[in-house]
């Protein structure tokens, strides 16, 4: 954040990127050797990781479907990473063809990738910005052109807030986004937590120190505090797989293994 905005960051492909490691967990090939190396080490340490990532992705899908059903047509996906399979605009538009989605990420490679696959889609936009600078997100011309902030907007912060350290005041940042949106808007959050798998999460956190985005695990209570000013929709803040599971799916009997909380709140 100390760098002036006109001084660009370098692109270092030898350094793992959270977005590309995530893609690797999901079985994608949008990643480089350094990403795969890190992903493999993480899985060695924590074999359930791919499953957790899938559960997280599945939560995103369920959340978007729920929001579309609730009438939301505008989505601001912050920390969208490399949206390959089952990305927000596909899920949303499957149910509501007029849904508009703005993807935001600070990883320049992820942003370029998103732009490439979204070329020609007028109902989507990609913004390279840092969620820690809400003004740069909310005042981005592309975002402003696509999103009408007088209408309800769903802000998706799925698996991203644990990359914001406490000193950047993540709760204050979330409030900024909340205040920018009108009543009837939503916030969807999933967040890694040390509750459930304390030993594993600690070593996992150590691994992410090498990336540009170190992790901060938070407790359920801390995560619940992101929803200040929102009313949590049923079933509240729960372990990832427990949030409105698809009918017919067997819910894992030990959901705490997934070591992450998820919830959706509505701004009254």
């Amino acid at each position: 954040m100390g760098r002036p905005d006109w001084a660009p960051a370098g692109i270092d492909l030898d350094r793992p990127s959270a977005a590309r490691v995530y893609d690797f967990y999901l079985g994608g090939f949008h990643n480089f050797a350094a990403d795969r190396e890190m992903g493999r080490r993480a899985i060695e340490m924590w074999p359930e990781l791919p499953e957790i990532m899938k559960a997280n992705r599945a939560f995103l899908r369920r959340a978007v479907r729920h929001l579309v059903a609730a009438g939301v047509r505008q989505f601001l996906d912050i920390g969208s990473g490399i949206p390959t399979v089952g990305n927000v605009h596909e899920v949303a538009r499957a149910a509501a063809p007029d849904a508009r989605v703005v993807y935001v990420d600070n990883d320049p490679v992820a942003v370029e990738h998103s732009r490439a696959i979204l070329t020609g889609s007028e109902q989507t936009a990609v913004v390279q910005a840092d969620l820690r600078d809400p003004d740069s997100v909310l005042r981005d011309p592309a975002a402003k052109a696509l999103l009408d902030l007088r209408q309800p907007v769903a802000v998706l912060m799925v698996a991203v807030l644990h990359f914001v350290s406490d000193e950047d005041d993540p709760h204050g940042l979330v409030r900024r986004y909340r205040d920018a949106a009108p009543a009837g808007s939503y916030l969807a959050v999933s967040h890694a937590s040390s509750e459930g798998q304390p030993a594993l999460t600690e070593s996992h956190r150590g691994l992410y120190r090498r990336t540009a985005t170190p992790m901060t695990m938070r407790t359920g209570a801390q995560i619940a505090a992101f929803f200040d000013g929102y009313e949590l929709v049923e079933p509240g803040l729960v372990y990832l797989p427990l949030w409105r599971p698809d009918p017919g799916t067997e819910v894992d009997e030990r959901p705490e293994r997934f070591s992450g909380f998820a919830g959706v709140g509505r701004k009254p």
């Binding site: 006109w6 001084a7 660009p8 960051a9 370098g10 692109i11 492909l13 590309r20 999901l26 079985g27 994608g28 090939f29 949008h30 990643n31 480089f32 791919p50 499953e51 990532m53 899938k54 992705r57 899908r61 490399i82 390959t84 399979v85 089952g86 596909e90 899920v91 320049p108 490679v109 992820a110 942003v111 370029e112 990738h113 732009r115 490439a116 696959i117 698809d246 009918p247 017919g248 799916t249």
Partner: protein, 729 residues
């Protein structure tokens, strides 16, 4: 399922047909397939959707089994379809091929050794082939995508970097401030045009230089300490004021900001210096400071700077060090200034200051501290000899007349010299002592130097103490009056008495007016004091026992300041009224300069009103001022009192000075012509008294007749011998 066993052994491809969807266990197979796929990979499909997919694929599979001629291409399509649905996890393929091997034939109602068995194997292979090809294609495509994205991002980053670099270049090149970049060893790597211009070295010269080459002897020690801290990474930046030498040898003043640039590893890598030329600002400051500290006319340091330097000298930590101070006052400068004009006066001051300054020793400071007052500060002083030599040079410097606009102006200077140990006194005390000593030099006859004598000065210093105690002295009853008789020369009878003020000071004893009256005039204390004198002298004159002879006068001195006081007439009237003294028995003594030299009409008007009341007016010290005889005629004056100086030549026994005789004779004659009486002051010898009588002088006073005395003593004497013509005391 009924023909399955028959077909297994006997039937061949020719007899086979594909089962209709209802004829085989497709749902069972598809469900099992969906179950094994679920969880192998990340797919957007939920369980029910997977089953829809596997049902389709199962039908495809069943049809392929019985297709004639048999080809396994459907297997490849199935592999492809799995990858398309993002079942890309490694287990998705192995589970699928295992399922085919284990469950396809039973679900089709065939035995494990059916002739269809090889077809299952073929299809397994085809699924694997199709799956692998599709996965490879996907992997390559996605790798290509991400690589493109990375390249694109890198291009953008580089473009942004170039743009930022260009912006920085422009900033660097066009900046008005000087910018230099160096490494942490101090080697200069790059400088901008502004810095080249500022310091005057060609860019190549800079690159051969080290930061340390720009040391200036005036640099504060902290500058280079800060610099070292910076390049060693202990601080990020510092700011300072620093001088730099230009290539041409001149020096400039700058504001310097040096910042550290660290590498990605955090280690110090470069330093950037931003240099702003503030020489002009400094010059302006210097000029302002010069103006604040110098006299614009002579260019000499002024009082402010003198006080600074004196204070510094007195605080100097130099054991045994002495500080010498010479206070100089030009004698009779005012006369020249008044008669020849300010322009000549100013030129004279400039010439005088030049001459005086030329006589100074190394390190001495001369300052102009007032109109015609100068001071020389000698710090350190080596002692009295040095100061004596200096004052002699200063006195001599003005010995030769100064030519200005055709005039050859002679003037002398009086000097008060003080010497004190540094740390032993305060500037105020030292200046006070020098000023007192200067007054002493003036009193001793001007054109000379007087050295401060601490013992003798014990009372001189009191001038300042007096100033402090004067305002309350009247209330404390410290003033008294003494009286000196005025004697008629013709018959030796009492003509009157002159009231003389005395101050019985609690610390310094009895003081006469010459010791404090000037001070009283300066401070304004003369006004209440004068009023008291009128009232008190009139009261005493009417209450003496025995009373003064009815025709005798009470003569009271009036200071210039009192003449200018609008309340004078009122004060005199009240004193007369309160005491009952007739107005024509009161005589006021005023100096001729107070009457004549004043521009204002006020004093004259007051004198006229007093004269109209019947009060006598005497001109005191006649002959020491301008002695304007013509003017005298128009004044309401009754008496002239000749200054003591005229009597000097009449004092000695034997032949008196004929000139003095004639002058006094002429004055007496003129006075009488103007119908004025004449009183001679300071008569000290019988010779003087005799000669004055011969010359026709009317009255006299002086020690020969009587010293001033308190009223009780004077009264007592007068009573015992009222007609005595010989000295009384």
């Amino acid at each position: 399922m009924t023909d399955s066993d028959a077909n297994a052994g006997t039937g061949g491809p020719g007899t086979a047909r594909a089962p209709s969807p209802t004829e085989w266990g497709r749902v069972e197979f598809a469900r099992a397939w969906a179950r094994v796929l679920d969880g192998t990979s990340y797919s957007t499909l939920v369980a029910a959707e997977i089953e829809v997919l596997t049902l389709d694929l199962s039908d495809l599979l069943a049809a392929a089994m019985f297709d004639e001629p048999f080809t396994a291409t459907a297997g490849e399509r199935i592999g492809q379809a799995l990858v398309d649905a993002h079942f890309t996890g490694a287990k998705a393929l192995s589970q699928t091929t295992a399922l085919l091997g284990d469950l396809l034939l039973p679900c089709l109602g065939r035995s494990a050794d059916s002739w269809l068995r090889p077809r299952v194997s073929d299809l397994q292979g085809a699924v694997a082939r199709g799956y692998t090809e599709a996965l490879l294609t996907l992997a390559l495509a996605e790798q290509e995508q991400i690589r493109q994205a990375a390249l694109s991002a890198r291009d953008q980053a580089q473009a942004a970097l170039r743009a930022s670099d260009a912006r920085f270049r422009a900033l660097f090149t066009d900046a008005a401030v000087g910018i230099g970049v160096g490494d942490t060893a101090g080697n200069i790597l790059d400088v901008n045009p502004a810095l080249v211009k500022m310091l005057g070295y060609p860019p190549a010269d800079f690159r051969r230089r080290n930061v340390a080459d720009f040391l200036h002897p005036d640099d504060a020690a902290e500058v280079w300490e800060d610099y070292r801290d910076l390049v060693e990474g202990h601080r990020e930046s510092f700011r300072t004021e620093k001088r730099f030498y230009r290539a041409d040898g001149t020096a400039i003043w700058t504001h310097l900001t040096v910042s550290l640039i660290r590498g990605e590893d955090g280690a110090p890598r470069y330093q950037v210096a931003i240099i702003e030329d503030v020489t002009e600002r400094h010059r302006l400051q210097d000029r302002l400071s010069y103006q604040a500290n110098h006299d614009p006319l002579t260019g000499l340091p002024n009082r402010a700077m003198f006080l600074d330097r004196l204070t510094a000298a007195l605080h100097a930590d130099r054991p045994g060090g002495q500080v010498g101070l010479c206070f100089l006052d030009l004698d009779s400068f005012k006369v020249i200034n008044d008669s020849l004009g300010h322009s000549v006066g100013d030129q004279l001051l400039v010439a005088v200051s030049d001459r005086l300054a030329a006589e100074l020793g190394h390190g001495d400071l001369i300052a102009r501290v007032g109109g015609d007052e100068f001071v020389v500060l000698v710090a350190p002083s080596t002692g009295r000899e040095q100061l004596t030599a200096l004052t002699e040079r200063l006195l001599d410097a003005l010995a030769v007349p100064i030519p200005i606009e055709g005039h050859h102006l002679s003037l002398s200077v009086s000097i008060g010299v003080v010497e004190a140990p540094a740390g032993g006194t305060t500037p105020t005390d030292l200046i006070r002592a020098a000023d007192i000593t200067l007054q002493q030099a003036k009193a001793e006859g001007k054109g000379r130097a007087a050295f401060h004598d601490p013992h003798r000065n014990a009372t001189q210093v009191t001038l300042y103490t007096l100033a402090a105690t004067l305002p309350g002295a009247l209330d404390r009853g410290e003033f008294t009056l003494a009286y000196q008789p005025l004697v008629r020369l013709a018959d030796g009878r009492l003509h009157g008495v002159e009231a003389l003020l005395r101050w019985q000071h609690p610390r310094f004893g009895l003081l006469t007016p010459d010791q404090f009256i000037r001070l009283a005039e300066e401070t304004g204390a003369i006004l209440p004091l004068g009023k008291w004198i009128f009232a008190e002298s009139c009261r005493q004159a009417t209450s003496w026992s025995p009373p003064l002879p009815a025709d005798s006068l009470l003569s009271v001195n009036v200071a210039v300041r009192q003449l200018q006081d609008p309340g004078l007439v009122e004060d005199v009237s009240r004193a007369l009224a309160d005491s009952g003294l007739p107005a024509d028995r009161l005589q006021l003594e005023v100096t001729e300069s107070a009457l004549m030299a004043s521009d204002a009409d006020e004093p004259l008007a007051a004198v006229r009103r007093l004269a109209d009341m019947g009060v006598r007016i005497a001109i005191d010290d006649f002959g020491t001022g301008y002695s304007n005889l013509a003017y005298l005629r128009r004044l309401p004056v009754h008496e002239l009192k000749l200054a003591g100086a005229f009597l000097d030549g009449l004092r000695t026994p034997g032949e008196p000075d004929p000139t003095d005789i004639r002058v006094v004779a002429a004055l007496v004659e003129i006075a009488h012509t103007l119908r004025l009486t004449v009183t001679a002051e300071a008569v000290e010898t019988p010779e003087q008294a005799d000669r004055l009588r011969e010359l026709g002088c009317d009255t006299a006073q002086g020690w020969y007749f009587a010293r001033p005395a308190a009223p009780d003593r004077l009264g007592a004497r007068w009573r015992t011998d009222p007609a005595r013509s010989v000295p009384l005391g």
